[in-house]
């Protein structure tokens, strides 16, 4: 099984999976931030914000991820000149593509995060917000101290689903030249068509190793952190 040792030595497969992990984690953080803001807009009493939030979710969620990622590169960078890295750096192209991919993945998955959080908000009984308002908390403090902490706990399972999807969707970054796992897989398959299934297997197992613990972790968290009513 020399192909397996080649995966580690010649192709630096571990580095590729490390890139996948970085892509996933960074995008997850930004998607959570953006998604929380969008969810708050959707549940706010301000009509304009509700419409903007709903528009964000519906437009972004309905756009193929490949299109979003390609747009980040061709549209934002090449056409509009948005660069996210230092142009004089030797690693400019790699850094810029990586960051553009993080941008695209974050914006895309934020729409799913927003909906997961909104479903969490729906698990919080109306009386909780009423009680918060009744002691004089204004809207944002009611959200921050009473509604959102309970909403996140009610949204752990769907948020876990989004993170698993994000881990696998990070492979789309390869279309703008980010050397994550699936990009390396493509190269390996071109070099070694004779052991195609083994190459497939290696990368499939790699992704299972990444996603399985996420599923287990989020399931246990959803039980442990559930709000008792």
């Amino acid at each position: 099984m020399d192909v397996i040792s080649e995966f580690f030595s010649e192709y630096d497969g571990l580095q590729a999976f490390r890139t996948t992990i970085y892509l996933t984690l960074l995008s997850a953080v930004f998607a959570l931030l953006i998604g929380t803001v969008v969810a708050v807009m959707r549940v706010s009493p301000v009509r304009v914000l509700q419409i903007l939030g709903a528009a964000y979710v519906n437009i972004v969620r309905s756009t193929p991820l490949t299109l979003v990622i390609v747009f980040c590169n061709l549209g934002l960078f090449l056409q509009l000149g948005l660069s996210l890295a230092n142009k004089d750096s030797n690693t400019f192209i790699v850094d810029n593509n990586f960051r553009l991919a993080v941008l695209g993945l974050s914006v895309y998955h934020a729409s799913f995060v927003a909906e997961a959080i909104r479903s969490g908000v729906n698990t919080v009984p109306l009386g909780q917000a009423e009680a918060a308002r009744a002691i004089g908390l204004p809207f944002l403090k009611t959200l921050r101290y009473v509604v959102l902490p309970q909403a996140f706990r009610g949204a752990i399972t769907p948020l876990g689903n989004v993170l698993i999807a994000l881990t696998k969707n990070s492979t789309v970054a390869s279309v703008i030249g980010v050397t994550e796992a699936s990009a390396v897989m493509k190269v390996m398959m071109e070099d070694r068509p004779d052991v195609l299934f083994i190459v497939f297997g290696i990368f499939a197992i790699g992704f299972v190793i990444l996603t399985l613990p996420i599923g287990i972790l989020f399931t246990s968290m959803s039980k442990r952190l559930a709000v008792k009513r």
């Binding site: 009984p125 009386g127 909780q128 009423e130 009680a131 918060a132 308002r133 009744a134 002691i135 004089g136 908390l137 204004p138 403090k141 101290y145 009473v146 902490p149 309970q150 706990r153 709000v227 008792k228 009513r229």
Partner: protein, 253 residues
Amino acid sequence: MSDSGTLTKTGLVALTDVNKHFGELHVLKDINLSLAKGEVVVVIGPSGSGKSTLCRAINRLEPIDSGTITLDGQPLPSEGKALARLRADVGMVFQSFNLFAHKTILQNVTLGPSKVRGQSKSVAEEKARGLLERVGVTAQADKYPAQLSGGQQQRVAIARALAMDPKVMLFDEPTSALDPEMIKEVLDVMVDLARQSMTMIVVTHEMGFARRAANRVVFMADGQIVEEAEPERFFTDPQTKRAQDFLSKILTH
């Protein structure tokens, strides 16, 4: 005993010509009601009579369509920070307790004082412990609401409202969701509060409480105030047919 007629302009809480609709349904019809400082008013009436809506309108959990509601002479602000400030001065106790499910009993009581009044943690906690002692749930301070009985939860809810030093307390059917043996422990706290001259509006069917603690009973039916009288007179000699019917139904069982 205060004469309600002369208080309309000067009351701590005053409702003037208040109207409210839920779609087609006219739930509050020309409500006029005024409470002097320290007065305890019990609102009684059949379900659907609008008494809960009346209670919730006073801190604007239900906005009204027309009329004015004033607190301490100030009309209720419509939205935003000013409304939040007003609500901080009006304590509210709900039928379903509505304790913050993700916070401990102590945190439930300190949240308002620390995040609305800006009190330091130690000051807020000391006061909260005092209030929990007053309502008799000191031992439960570090538990979560779901671990307490309904009666205990409702007493915590009263402590949470009192922590804001409210000018007036609203009780929206505070004992209706409780098992019979827990009703007394909640009513005892409320009677105690009434004795310490807290201004209170209490929506309830507990006639024992009304007799012991109320200055006045307001009887509502079909969105209107049908009769107002001091408790003893209301229960023994109701003047309107509607009140007589209602009392005969709840007194014969």
